[in-house]
């Protein structure tokens, strides 16, 4: 794939909306186009985390293996969303397994490459981290709601 094509794809991804050209040029050196067949494992819990995925199409499920219950799917990510931030935080190990629920296309950004560029270009690093923080905040809020098990119980004032 030509660099021009990758740039266009990256510019269209919501995670990078408004990313300035200079930062986009910095980012492109870490990017490659990837495709996962339905059912294939993209990342595996416990393994070294060195990729940040921008999902273009398809759907990815995050799984936790629960002893005695098998794999439990706790979240999915789809087009316009991202997968994985363990590449950013030491000790760089995945905390989940991710499986392509359907055929999935994504841009894979090399984690070590990104870390180095964040170190050497503080402006780029800050911009990237702000975007990741937004994703983390949104996921944290969603997780809190899921923890409430809000569909499972009726409030006392509506029981009859």
């Amino acid at each position: 794939m030509h660099t021009e094509d990758l740039t266009t794809i990256l510019q269209q991804h919501p995670f990078l909306a408004g990313f300035i050209d200079e930062h986009m040029k910095t980012l492109i050196g870490c990017a490659s186009n990837v495709r996962f067949a339905e059912g294939s494992t993209i990342i595996r819990e416990g393994e070294i985390a060195n990729t940040f995925f921008l999902i273009r199409s398809g759907r990815v499920a995050l799984e936790i293996d629960v002893p005695g219950r098998g794999a439990i799917r706790v979240q999915t990510a789809g087009p316009g969303e991202v997968l994985g931030w363990s590449w950013l935080i030491s000790p760089y190990r995945w905390h989940f397994t991710a499986v392509a629920v359907v055929e999935t296309r994504a841009i894979a950004l090399d984690g070590e490459c990104l870390r180095n560029k964040c170190e050497s270009d503080a402006g780029f690093g800050y911009d990237l981290l702000l975007r990741l923080a937004e994703v983390m905040e949104s996921r944290l809020e969603a997780t809190r709601l899921q923890l409430l098990d809000m569909y499972g119980l009726s409030a006392p004032e509506v029981r009859a």
């Binding site: 316009g80 569909y151 004032e157 009859a160």
Partner: protein, 286 residues
């Protein structure tokens, strides 16, 4: 104390008197939710209701519960109520069989303002049993599909097995051009759909905020987060409508059981425009 008593519903001479109706069918939607189909053949005239309205369903000797009507408003001979088994009355209803008789009075309450959506996009956001009061809206919109632009149904459930109307959800998408997105809080590896909260589904639809009317029903906490998300996406508050739930007793504005701040849900609700209800949603004591 003007206008305290709600108007007498159609076909009912005294709004406090239940009328016997026959159970035609019971379908279990999941482990603790079932749909009762009532035969309205003996009702005094056709039973007319508007989407979003509710009935008081009476189990003789046990008590009454307010239940939203979940069937097609154009079918007046059969009436569906989808019921979550959570208390004494709903547990007694769950034990009923085809051919049993229960009491019914209604319909009561305000309705979803479907006319406000004419010529616009409609987005229905529902969670858990909150899809039940919105199901008549989907039927009504589908019946006059040409009057609306996009129709979007976002639905969240606890798990794949807890989802209501699974066959219909697929049918709506396939036959009526309704964009139907379903998500669950957790699933096993056989579930190929979305997993996550219902507000996450907004990431997959491009909402034309100014041209969309939104109907929301589900647990209050879900509705609060949905309202926040709609705000972030620029949907004007006066284009958002919610259905509130409280325990109702008289259903005609007498008893005050369903009081929600300055409003009685049985009379002014259950469907409210967001600007009217938003300040109340944020008050803990309510």
């Amino acid at each position: 104390m003007n206008n305290v008593v709600a108007p007498v519903p159609h076909g009912v001479t005294d709004p406090m008197v239940s009328h016997p109706v026959l159970i035609r069918r019971i379908i279990w939607e999941n482990d603790d939710t079932f749909t009762l189909t009532l035969d309205m053949g003996d009702w005094a005239g056709p039973f007319r209701f508007k989407p979003g309205q509710f009935n008081m369903v009476y189990v003789f000797g046990v008590g009454e519960a307010a239940i939203s009507i979940s069937s097609d408003p154009h079918k007046t001979n059969l009436l569906d109520h989808t019921i979550h088994r959570v208390g004494t009355v709903t547990t007694a209803l769950a034990q009923k069989k085809r051919g049993d008789v229960i009491g019914l009075r209604g319909p009561y309450g305000s309705s979803w303002p479907i006319d406000a959506a004419t010529g616009k996009d409609v987005c229905i956001v529902s969670g858990g049993i909150g899809l039940a009061p919105l199901r008549p809206v989907v039927y009504s919109l589908a019946r006059q599909r040409d009057l609306y632009k996009r129709i979007i149904v976002l639905y969240g459930g606890r798990s794949p097995l807890d989802l209501l109307y699974r066959v219909e959800l697929e049918k709506w998408a396939n036959e009526n051009g309704i964009e139907t997105l379903v998500t669950v809080d957790r699933g096993d590896t056989s579930w190929k759909g979305h997993i996550g909260v219902v507000t996450g589904l907004f990431n997959y639809i491009k909402l034309d905020a100014r041209e969309t009317v939104v109907f929301v029903c589900g647990p209050e906490i879900m509705m609060r987060y949905t309202v926040d998300e709609l705000g972030r996406r620029g949907v004007p508050p006066d284009q958002v409508f919610l259905s509130m739930e409280r325990n109702m007793k008289c259903a005609v504005g007498f008893c005050g059981h369903c009081q929600f701040g300055p409003t009685f849900i049985c009379k002014e609700g259950p469907v409210y425009p967001l600007p009217k209800i938003r300040p109340l949603m944020e008050r803990k004591e309510l």
